[in-house]
């Protein structure tokens, strides 16, 4: 166990946890965007910054990836933290001005109109879809491609990926609605990543869409495994 101070309160966390995890366990709110409990922390959005006063402080760190250290002194609500988050929110709003979550976030941070306009598609490159596709689904159908201003989420070669199984996990995880469920259901393909396969019914529930190679006969597989 490690003991640290967050906002003047002495708190304890399991070894190896991040500042964010310890804070949340103690009901201390820190805003996040690219963090998801089921995924490896990514440190991409910088919304979760906190002020680390000691050791080696004071400075801003991303709490979702920064380990909770013994004796650390952390402030989650200080002026410098708010300033940083406000800037992040403004940039995010510039990048995704039409996304509801981002609008709400910006409003909460006191940002009205972003001074920059970076793009108008809703993707904020948080990488949740890419990481879920890799870490949870295991399909690896999409990745972040290019660099800088042209960076985007895409399947290889920007054409439909036959690695996509149409599970729509990406749709549900996307915080800004950049990946649309209607599109997925309409053509059983994901986003503009039209991986086209003849969708078949799941052999268990008989309902959801599945890529043919996934529609295995579970009973058969199990009996073979048990044999």
């Amino acid at each position: 166990m490690v003991t640290l101070s967050i906002n003047g309160q002495q708190v304890q966390g399991v070894d190896g946890s991040s500042i964010l995890e310890v804070a949340r366990e103690h009901g201390i709110e820190i805003p996040t965007l690219c963090y998801h409990e089921a995924l490896e922390p990514y440190g991409g959005c910088r919304l979760c910054v906190v002020e680390l006063k000691a050791p080696r402080g004071p400075r801003l760190v991303a709490s979702c990836v920064y380990p909770a250290e013994e004796g650390a002194v952390v402030e989650t609500d200080s002026e410098i933290v708010h300033r940083s988050r406000r800037m992040t929110a403004e940039l995010l709003l510039g990048a995704a001005p039409n996304a509801k979550v981002i609008q709400a976030l910006a409003a909460r941070m006191g940002v009205e109109k972003p001074r920059v306009s970076l793009s108008d598609n809703n993707c904020i490159l948080c990488g949740l879809c890419v990481r879920a596709c890799r870490e949870i689904v295991g399909a690896n159908a999409i990745s972040l491609v290019n660099r800088g201003f042209t960076k985007e989420v895409s399947p290889p070669f920007e054409i439909g990926s036959n690695a996509c199984v149409g599970c729509t996990t990406c749709v549900f995880l996307c915080p800004t609605g950049a990946i649309k469920l209607e599109e997925v259901l309409a053509n059983r393909s994901v986003h503009h990543w039209d991986s086209d396969f003849e969708a078949v019914a799941c052999k268990i529930c008989g309902d959801h869409y599945l890529a043919p190679e996934l529609a295995v006969d579970v009973e058969k597989v199990l009996s073979e495994e048990n044999a």
Binding site: N140, I142, V145, S161
Partner: protein, 163 residues
């Protein structure tokens, strides 16, 4: 494109096999070799590399599109890089770039039809005091003026003729 070596799957396989013999093969080094050999990363090569190295294609594609050193389109035999970083820009890089672009008849990022020249820009080479900087086939030139750019280009063009 007559100067373009054609893609040969067995070559890539040889390359991968050679790599496997040694240390744990790194995707970057394989891609670097393919880029050097073909002056771009052919789509089929990326698929082949992904499959035989067990790296998801999406990841290979991500790496291939991230680094400036890799290209998905064939690059010319001779690559001319003009620094358009802030320091070079205020020292006249725009003129230099225009001069080269006009003479080659291509825009930055493009390759001449004969596959000989590619014109590129870079955002700072860390040699700002020497700006404007031009790198032609790996050779750096500083304080490049329009006239100097012309001379540089003539030299590269002459070399292109002799091969």
């Amino acid at each position: 494109m007559s100067f373009q070596p054609t893609f040969d799957a067995s070559e890539i396989e040889d390359l991968l096999n050679g790599k496997r013999g040694g240390e744990h093969p790194s995707l970057m080094s394989v891609l670097e070799e393919v880029q050097a050999r073909y002056r771009y990363l052919p789509q089929d090569a990326l698929i082949l590399i992904s499959e035989s190295m067990g790296v998801p294609l999406s990841q290979t594609y991500g790496v291939a599109t991230f680094y400036n050193a890799f290209s998905l389109k064939p690059k010319g035999r001779h690559v001319i890089n003009v620094c358009t970083g802030t320091a070079c820009m205020v020292r006249g890089a725009k003129k230099v770039l225009e001069r080269i672009s006009d003479r080659l008849g291509i825009q930055p990022g493009e390759t001449t039809e004969d596959g000989q020249f590619t014109l590129e820009t870079v955002n700072c080479l860390g040699a700002c005091a020497l700006g404007p900087v031009v790198v032609a086939d790996g050779a750096y030139s500083g304080e490049v003026t329009g006239a100097k750019a012309n001379a540089l280009l003539s030299k590269v063009m002459a070399e292109a003729k002799t091969v």
